[in-house]
């Protein structure tokens, strides 16, 4: 366990933290040099392709691969029979849980295909054309079963059952019959009935959200190479090379140390690259063929078989007094998990009312399976869905109470010392500061015209820490190589190098950060939970302090004085009692390290604790075209507590990117299935993520309420920005049209229908 609470440097002393230097991987990325998942080519490399179920739900009676295997150029064919079955066992993986029994079935269907696009077999061949031909030669005998796509229908007693052995957990007594409801969760505080009795006004609404995909531009891709003696190399695009190693070793029955995983540059993940899909298949194919195998998903495969996050039904009821004190808050959340249990229902429940200081709270959640791809984490998994409902109801409360929506939030905002319904007492958090900054922002005063509306919403996300290693290797010339174990998804090499340089007191250009493969460091949990700048940053600072300790020892030895009389300051060892001794620089000590005791390496292996929640408030102005129902975003301002912004440009980038994804979720994005359970829009043309001309500039305000549990005050920032936009946009559209919307996305047809219905009834 590690708990670094000492802040070694005060804000005024920072020389590098808070500046905006060029990122170390910038040139590689603007010149096309950077190697992503699909960019590796090895000699003798085969192409791997997956055969996927055309049915939403079907029993697999038999698979005949003989003809495919006989095709010249085909080197290996695999099915579920090539993977050992694994027992049901839940293992925490950051913000989500994994179960290997489900994971082995998700990467390759066993008894049943549970969604359109579910992998049923895979081939490796000498060319893509041959691999595709081989797929057509595989005969799968399916018994097509009735399917269920909708979360409410899936909960009904006579719904088609996905898993015959699934009995709802956390209900008393244990259900007599299996169902599609995997579990029930509940969080409560105070007395909900008494709270509602004190309310002067109650608002109760049911909301619907659709599954949305993370939409990373780089499809899943990997190259696996297993040698004849069972040693394996895997190159892949992932948010966590160590997690991929754990998962694949388990699925393939390999020893962890036999598998070396290298994380390529990653072309976006947003949570969607925290799981495995093609990686274990490529390893299994390579193990059979004894040749390297490359697998790259097509965009259709990405949509059909990876991600997304849950669609949901969200019921929210909140009561408040006339002067705007919220007296009770209740919610029931039904999240669809896709084909296997494990929706982000738990964090969804925990986040729902977290921004508020409430005495009486009750949240009940259900995790429900449907014939859709298994959901994966998506930026603040679960939070945006429940908070969309809550922030919409808070807006309506403000409207009914004739209170400014920021004012109402300020009256109820959680702050340091607030006890959250899910358990903990908050340390210093920055919601009040973001609300005050929002109220003071010029955006909030811009006059609105006809058909325009303004929406406000706040958002909360926990952030996590976890297992992290880092190393600083001192070069003989005084330059430093920083090795981190968390893939850099949006500029973290820059922020980590900045923290190392700051702590060592050297110029940033002397620190070269690299992301190590699984053989370079001890275990690292993945890039997720907004944990990298916090946890890897903490590890880097600790590694720098370790290195400084060694540097002081070397200086003491050279000067033949006591260690306690040597300080490290501004990049130099200094003899405190003897100012005449010329201070020794990092380079001086590096030059002589061979003679003073050997190589100098700063190491850290920590379990980072004390991640600080990050809160945000967003303001958005929209214009709704009454003729078409189309919503245009006119202005957007995102305000967030970053704790400490190490590289402010990349903090702003997280805020802007999260806001843009949230706008897509609010206005356009949704999975559309036909009656057969086939995805009708598995491509960027019809699954429309925001394009450049859809958006305005996204203004940002970084608030800094330092996290006392991080040496520099860092909180995670990456996930919170996707929490407020759905409610903010929906509130804005409601204000523009005078119609309260409760369903996403607010696509033109839906909005137009509501406008017309209102016109007809008026």
């Amino acid at each position: 366990m590690n708990d670094m609470t000492t802040t070694s440097l005060q804000q005024s002393e920072f020389k590098i933290v808070g500046t905006r230097p060029a990122r170390p991987d910038g040139v590689d990325k603007v010149t096309g040099r950077a190697k992503f998942g699909a960019d590796l080519y090895l000699a003798n490399m085969l192409v791997g392709k997956v055969l996927r179920s055309p049915h939403a739900h079907a029993r697999i009676k038999s698979i005949d691969t003989a003809k495919a295997l006989a095709l010249p150029g085909v080197k290996a064919v695999i099915t579920a029979a090539d993977f050992g079955d694994l027992p049901s066992e839940f293992i925490p993986a950051g913000e989500m849980m994994v179960n290997f029994k489900d994971m082995t079935r998700n990467v390759m269907a066993r008894e049943k295909a549970l969604y359109e696009g579910h992998a049923v077999a895979a081939v490796a061949a000498t060319s893509e054309a041959i691999a595709n031909k081989a797929l057509k030669l595989i005969r799968v005998d399916y018994e097509v079963l009735p399917h269920v796509m909708d979360v409410v229908q899936a909960m009904e007693a006579d719904a088609p059952l996905l898993h015959e052995d699934m009995y709802t957990i956390n209900v008393e007594p244990r259900p007599a019959k299996p169902s599609n409801i995997a579990k029930r969760v509940e969080f409560a505080l105070g007395d909900i009935a008494a709270g509602f009795a004190k309310a002067d006004i109650v608002v109760e609404r049911e909301f619907t959200t659709q599954p949305v995909h993370q939409g990373y531009i780089e499809p899943h891709a990997c190259v696996a190479s297993v040698s004849e003696d069972g040693q394996a190399e895997l190159w892949c695009t992932t948010q966590g090379q160590f997690i991929v190693r754990s998962f694949c070793a388990k699925l393939l029955g390999m020893e962890v140390s036999k598998l070396r995983v290298t994380a390529s540059e990653i072309g976006g993940g947003f949570g969607g690259k925290t799981v495995v899909y093609v990686e274990p298949l490529a390893l299994a194919l390579s193990r059979k063929a004894c040749q390297p195998v490359k697998m790259v998903m097509s965009r259709v495969e990405v949509f059909q078989a990876s991600g997304p996050t849950s669609g949901a039904k969200v019921w929210v009821k909140m009561g408040a007094t006339r002067d705007g004190k919220i007296t009770a808050a209740e919610a029931v959340l039904k999240y669809q998990a896709g084909a296997f249990q494990g929706s982000p229902i738990q964090p969804g429940c925990m986040c729902a009312f977290a921004p508020y200081d409430l005495e009486n709270v009750k949240v009940v959640g259900f995790d429900i399976v449907t014939n859709r791809p298994k959901v994966a984490a998506y930026r603040a998994p679960g939070g945006p869905i429940s908070e969309y409902g809550v922030e919409s109801v808070v807006d309506e409360l403000a409207q009914k109470l004739k209170l400014d929506p920021i004012e109402l939030r300020l009256k109820n905002a959680a702050k340091e010392g607030t006890k959250a319904a899910y358990g903990p007492k908050f340390g210093p958090i920055g919601l009040v500061q973001t609300l005050e900054a929002a109220r003071a922002h010029p955006h909030y005063k811009v006059p609105l015209k006809a058909n325009q509306g303004r929406g406000v919403a706040s958002g909360f996300w926990f952030n996590i820490g976890g297992e992290t290693c880092a190393a600083l290797n001192l070069g003989e010339d005084g330059s430093v190589t920083l090795v981190a174990g968390t893939p850099d998804i949006g500029g973290s090499r820059a922020s980590l190098a900045m923290m190392a340089a700051e702590e060592l007191g050297i110029a940033l250009e002397h620190v070269r950060p690299v992301i190590g493969d699984t053989s370079a460091l001890g275990f690292n949990f993945l890039t997720g939970g907004s944990r990298v700048t916090f946890s890897s940053g903490m590890a880097v600072i600790e590694a720098a302090r370790d290195m400084i300790g060694q540097l002081r020892e070397r200086a003491a030895k050279i000067w033949e004085i006591d260690l306690k009389d040597v300080t490290w300051q501004g990049g130099y060892a200094r003899a405190v009692r003897d100012p005449a001794k010329k201070p020794l620089s990092l380079a001086d000590l590096a030059n002589t390290m061979g003679k003073t005791g050997g190589p100098i390496v700063g190491n850290a292996a920590i379990n980072a604790q004390g991640a600080g929640p990050s809160l945000a408030t967003h303001i958005v102005d929209v214009e709704v075209d009454p003729e078409t129902g189309k919503t245009t975003v006119l202005r957007y301002t995102a305000i967030q507590d970053a704790g400490r912004a190490i590289h402010p440009s990349y903090v702003e980038g997280q805020m802007q990117g999260g806001a843009a994804q949230g706008i897509g979720w609010a206005l356009n994005e949704e999975y559309i299935y036909d009656a057969k359970g086939h995805l009708a829009n598995p491509g960027f043309l019809d699954y429309r993520i925001p394009v450049c001309s859809d958006l305005p500039m996204i203004d940002t305000v970084i608030v800094e309420v330092p996290n006392p549990r991080h040496p520099y005050g860092v909180r995670g920032v990456g996930e919170t920005p996707i929490v407020p936009p759905m409610a903010a946009v929906s509130n804005a559209v409601s204000n523009a049209t005078g119609i309260r919307f409760t369903e996403l996305p607010l696509s033109p047809p839906r909005v137009l229908k509501a406008i017309e219905a209102k016109g007809a009834s008026a």
Partner: protein
Amino acid sequence: MAKQHVSTTVNGEPVEFLCAPEQTLLDVLRDELHLTGSKEGCATGDCGACSVTLDGRLVCSCLVLGAEVGGRKIETIEGMAKGDELHPLQKKFIEHAALQCGICTPGVLIAAKSLLERNPDPSETEVRYWLAGNLCRCTGYDKIVRAVMDAAADMRSA
């Protein structure tokens, strides 16, 4: 079907390759020439990650067949910097933090360069519509648009 022999010019250099009839220009650039700076995000012309110019015209290389490019001039991201001198757009993208993961960046840069060649003084709206074919899921486009406008200003005053 037999492979075709194609002679063409890529980033000013003469290049020859063999390609199957179904291989796209993107497949050829990546799989045959190993110029992997052009990315495949969709293979259907919807994401712009594969953007290159063909005889000076901006195209999605996933929508062009390899067999079509004989005798033509192809420019890819690998040809954008001249020697050790980055193109102003490349510099401004780094300076403005206009990339996060960077997978869209080569395509966005090629598209932006092609815009500035036609319109050295684009408005924000013109930049946004020109780049509407280049998806970026990370940045929300704000810093991309700023970098393009700033590079344009620099290039005009150069």
